[in-house]
């Protein structure tokens, strides 16, 4: 890490890898919907999975969130946010879709 230019090359590579991976994941997801090789429900599941993977890739390559100890606070915050968001979104969907179902 002492040579700043080597650090620079590695950083550019990180962004490059992230960009390439994100592009590939995006193309795959759009391709699946466009050519529809699977049933709709399967496609949706795969697409949501790919989206999740892409979010992780972007966190790793663009926002540099790692498992290293010095970045733990940020990771903890992301995980806590994910927990709260998961609770809120899944709770909302369960409760309101249940209400919808019971009224129909």
């Amino acid at each position: 890490m002492s040579d700043p230019n080597r650090g620079r090359a590695a950083e550019i590579a990180t962004y490059g890898i992230g960009y390439g991976a994100a592009l590939a994941l995006t193309a795959l997801a759009f391709g699946l919907v466009s050519w529809a090789p699977f049933a709709a429900s399967t496609t949706v599941r795969i697409v949501l999975g790919l989206g999740l993977v892409q979010i992780v890739v972007q966190f790793r390559c663009f926002l540099h969130i790692t498992l290293r100890k010095s970045a733990r606070h940020d990771l903890q915050l992301i995980l806590f946010s994910a927990l709260i968001i998961g609770l809120m979104v899944s709770g909302t969907l369960v409760v309101l879709l249940n209400l919808h179902h019971r009224m129909m």
Binding site: E11, V47, I55, V89, T92
Partner: protein, 208 residues
């Protein structure tokens, strides 16, 4: 803690400017918390969208109004802008002058504006076809979610302009650098939200 350690999300200045790096750990943490709060805001709009998906009230549904190709182009444009912003951050960290920073920022700004123009065109077309937010609950939630993201991108573009002026006025001083790092988090965050949007909204709506 050595200067090489990551102290906050996003690109760390580390060894090239140890003094600003130490401050950034404090300042960026606050901004990162703000983004988490903002993420909850978006998450709840996503949840609302999920709830209202069936509330089409006999009006147009997702498959009638979404277009796969423009969504794809918009995605690529925004993703590319996230990459070019990364290049601007690297220039901020390593370059001596401000020219490479402003150049990459300029490219990012152009891509951001292009994204906004395309999105505006999409929404205008929808409105022209009668798919206005007042037509149904589903369209209300779609327009609100997309417009909120668009407003964030617009704010980001304004921030880039301010950043360009600050770079010209102050050069690369500590506060400009921290401001750039904040903007970087914001811009990458918007791309992550967009990943959720194209997956949950467009692709789910168009999956056959």
């Amino acid at each position: 803690m050595s200067a090489g350690d990551a102290m906050h999300p996003g690109l760390n200045l580390g060894q090239t400017d140890a003094e600003t790096h130490a401050r950034a750990g404090h300042d960026l943490f606050g901004f990162w918390i703000f983004l988490m709060s903002d993420a909850v805001l978006f998450a709840l709009l996503f949840a609302t969208y999920g709830v209202m998906l069936r509330g089409t009230a006999g009006g147009p549904g997702p498959a009638d109004v979404y277009k796969l190709l423009t969504a794809f182009v918009e995605t690529v444009v925004l993703l590319t802008s996230s990459f070019t912003f990364g290049m601007a951050s690297i220039s901020l960290k390593h370059a001596r002058g401000i020219a490479p920073i402003t150049a990459w920022l300029g490219v990012t700004l152009a891509l951001g504006l292009a994204f906004l123009a395309m999105e505006y065109n999409d929404l205008a077309t929808m409105v022209g076809d009668g798919a206005v937010p007042a037509r149904s609950g589903f369209l209300s939630s779609f327009h609100a979610l997309i417009s909120l993201h668009g407003l964030h991108v617009l704010a980001g573009c304004l921030w880039i302009v301010v950043m360009l002026v600050q770079l010209c006025v102050f050069g690369r001083d500590g506060r400009v650098k921290i401001n750039m790092l904040r903007l970087g988090l914001f811009w990458h965050f918007l791309d992550i939200v967009w990943v959720a949007i194209f997956s949950v909204v467009f692709l789910q709506g168009l999956a056959r």
